[in-house]
């Protein structure tokens, strides 16, 4: 962290806001209709335009500024000597936040080309080579268009035409992206990147999203201009009715007590095949009291009926490998060699001698699991019948021949 001490310090004690929303003072006060509905991004148009001219000079913060509005009795409190003044170096070391008006952004630059190198070394393993991966985190890039860049509104957010909301679809403040990469990335070594690397990775993401060209160099001098190209820069609303504790809220119900209007229908319920998705609910409840947890073995419609006898393996519909294919097991598991999940033979080797392995693995297949073979979860496969699951598990424990 010490290398960060040479980054620009703060002068915030003397600074006054340039964001229209803040200088208007409306949002912090009572919710006016203006403040309620004005787009935050609209406010930022003004901010970005003047931010560069007002960028704080590098260097240590000025000496203490008298607080015009401080509580008159504060200094007299009997505990007022507790704690100690922070040194300038200490403030500089921890004051890492970057605001939408670029307050706190260190001077520097980084190229798309450099960003690609950093990305491949530190980012791609989780986020994919093109920021598109959905394996570990939600995709960063995708779902935005040139037309979105023109309007500042992402059309896919309106019509739902992109299957997931990517970072670039939601991003309305470029400062946010810079700040977050700087403070929290890479995942397993946060705060380890240089200022140049943070600029470069930010530039690379913007390039992947077609916001800046391949030869672009992002810097503190042009970042406000790039903000004006963000596809969703006009897509965010500071919604004060759910920010202020005395806000009015947006949805109204009435306290009708009798013969109230209802549609009298069940609009949604958990399908039978999802009953095992959260494991054995009987084991997630106390064993005493007026109610118990439901067991997993039968669908809701069959609870209370006599328990079906386990089917003999002979009754299974297909040979094991065909069954594995038909049940979509082979999308993640190979007979030999790791794919997304461990191979059938590796599983067999690990559990072959374990007591109760068959029941354990049947539960894991049908109820899902995570952690036995790394972080990638095994989704529950309750759609595979218990008899089929048992047959598959026996085949796996027998060496998956």
């Amino acid at each position: 962290m010490s290398r960060r001490c040479d980054r620009p310090g703060t002068a915030r004690a003397t600074w006054r806001g340039v964001i229209g929303e803040a200088t208007s003072g409306r949002t912090a006060g009572v919710a006016s209709s203006w403040a309620r509905w004005s787009l935050a991004a609209t406010m930022l148009v003004g901010a970005a335009g003047v931010a560069h001219a007002q960028a704080k000079p590098p260097g240590p913060p000025p000496a203490a500024v008298p607080a015009s509005g401080a509580a008159p009795n504060a200094a007299k409190a009997p505990w007022s000597a507790i704690g100690r003044p922070a040194t300038r170096a200490e403030v500089a070391a921890w004051d890492i936040d970057v605001r939408p008006d670029w307050r706190g952004l260190p001077a520097g630059s980084g190229s798309v080309a450099k960003g690609m190198d950093v990305w491949d070394a530190k980012c791609a393993s989780c986020h994919g080579t093109f920021g598109e991966s959905n394996e570990v985190f939600t995709p960063i890039v995708g779902g935005t268009t040139k037309e979105d860049m023109r309007t500042g509104r992402v059309k896919a957010l309106v019509d739902g035409s992109h299957p997931q909301r990517t970072t670039m679809m939601k991003l309305s403040q470029l400062s946010t992206l810079w700040d977050y990469i700087n403070r929290a990335m890479p995942w397993n070594a946060p705060k380890s990147m240089t200022v140049e690397e943070v600029y470069a990775v930010t530039a690379y993401i913007l390039n992947l999203a077609d916001v800046v060209p391949d030869d672009f160099v992002l810097s503190d001098r042009n970042i406000a201009d790039v903000q004006q190209k963000l596809p969703n820069r006009n897509g965010k609303l500071f919604y004060t009715d759910l920010w202020n504790v005395r806000g009015a809220g947006d949805v109204r119900n009435t306290a009708c007590m009798s013969d109230c209007a209802v549609e009298d229908r069940i609009a949604s319920q958990l399908p039978d095949h999802a009953r095992g998705s959260h494991g054995n609910l009987a084991e997630q409840h106390r064993g005493i009291g007026p109610a118990r947890g439901l067991g997993p073995s039968r669908p809701a419609s069959a609870q209370g009926q006599p328990q079906p006898q386990p089917q003999p393996v002979a009754a299974v519909s297909k040979p094991p490998l065909d069954l594995a294919r038909a049940s979509a097991c082979t999308a993640c598991h190979a007979v030999d060699g790791k794919m997304v999940g461990p191979s059938f033979r590796d599983i067999g080797r690990r559990y072959a001698q374990a007591t109760g392995a068959e029941a354990l693995l049947v539960d894991k297949v049908r109820g899902g699991g995570q952690g036995s073979w790394g972080p990638m979860p095994m989704p529950p496969q309750a759609q595979v019948s218990e008899a089929d699951t048992r047959a598959l598990v026996r085949w796996i424990l027998g060496g998956a021949q």
Binding site: A67, D95, E135, K236, L237, M257, G293, G295
Partner: protein, 456 residues
Amino acid sequence: MNAPIRMPGRIQPAPEDFLSGEQVVSARKARRGFMAKALAFGAGAAAAGSARPAGNSAAAGTGAAPAAEGDPMILAPRPWTTSLGQPVAVRGYGLPSQHEKGLQRRESPGLTRVSAASVSFCPLQGLFGIITPTGLHFERHHQGWHDIDPSQHRLMVMGLVREPRVFTMDDLMRLPAVSRMHFIECGANTGMEWGNVAVPTVQYTHGMLSCGEFTGVPLATLLDLCGVDRKAARYVLAEGADGSSMTRTVAVDRAMDDVLVAWAMNGEMLRPENGYPLRLVVPGVQGVSWVKYLRRIEVGDSPYFTKDEVLHYVDLMPDGTHRAFTSIQECKSVITTPSGGQVLLDRGYHNVTGLAWSGRGKIRRVDVSFDGGRNWRTARLEQPVLPKCLTRFNVDWTWDGSPAVLQSRAIDDTGYVQPRINQLRAVRGTRSIYHNNAIQSWRVAASGEVSNVQAL
């Protein structure tokens, strides 16, 4: 549950479905005669805790009608009545009974892909009163949790203050402390159910909710001590010391009101999963703002638009805009028993119980419906009823064995009435993820099974 109507209030054994195959065989053998049955009960009790606590307890503790002589649990001396128990301090820090193992914090499979950036849900289905047992408090980590050495922890207060200052834990714990009870709810609680029913039990529908007694110093005390510029200050940034260095903007009127810089929960220091040694407590506001491992408070004059104010914890509206800074957890309630994934063992009397809360103040009233929202009865509120705190409610219900849909509806002291899911959707659509405070419906089938449904 195709048994005939039973006496009200009597507890029946769980269906055989809950027992392992071995136990079913054992129970069937036991039916052959009373002596055999008594032996089976004894065996079951001896095995309890080793295999399936729920099943064993059901078999051993709620035996079928005893024979003429009476209940073997009474007639036959129990091991704990006839032997020496364990001495003091076997467990220097106490643990729950071995029979309570079913109640655990759990992840929702498939919800997140990385368990260091995930959530574990609080088992509300098994809790009593309003205080969440500390070890069952829900977890949400953004980049894993740490167990920080408190002697190395520092808090810095800077920005629009007369003098930026640094506090050690020694310093903070010398300041005038307060203790207050508040709920904490993740903004994404019930978020999986915006579009349709997705999860089976109240643990997963509502378990990103906990409540505790927090001890710390009011943030206002610290801000005044540092000489906050009251005229210029509009927002406060809170930042954590963990790898994610989580940041959230807090309104200055909240910061100068009831926000705490807390080191303790439920009489002990915070647990590491909950931010040891220091976290922000922002009553009524979503949990993401209760920054853990709190290292820095910056006073500013404009909102910070942090990652969790721009990319997450934003509510997607039908017109494609995102609402940001939707922080207040509005009035909400849920019935915890009976609730989804349970089965009622008996017809007759049931004490229906649940929780209500509001980020805007106190709970004024809770109504419960047994017919899907057509008719409502007012529940009893248990004391204490505190602002921005869980409130426990109870209401009597005699179940006649016919299907029912149970709902609870809370009203807070602003007069706001908890909305129905279709009322929420009419304004916010179905894609929001966050801030779903809809009335929850639990359907009770004739079999006694309770399931999660959305009743309109």
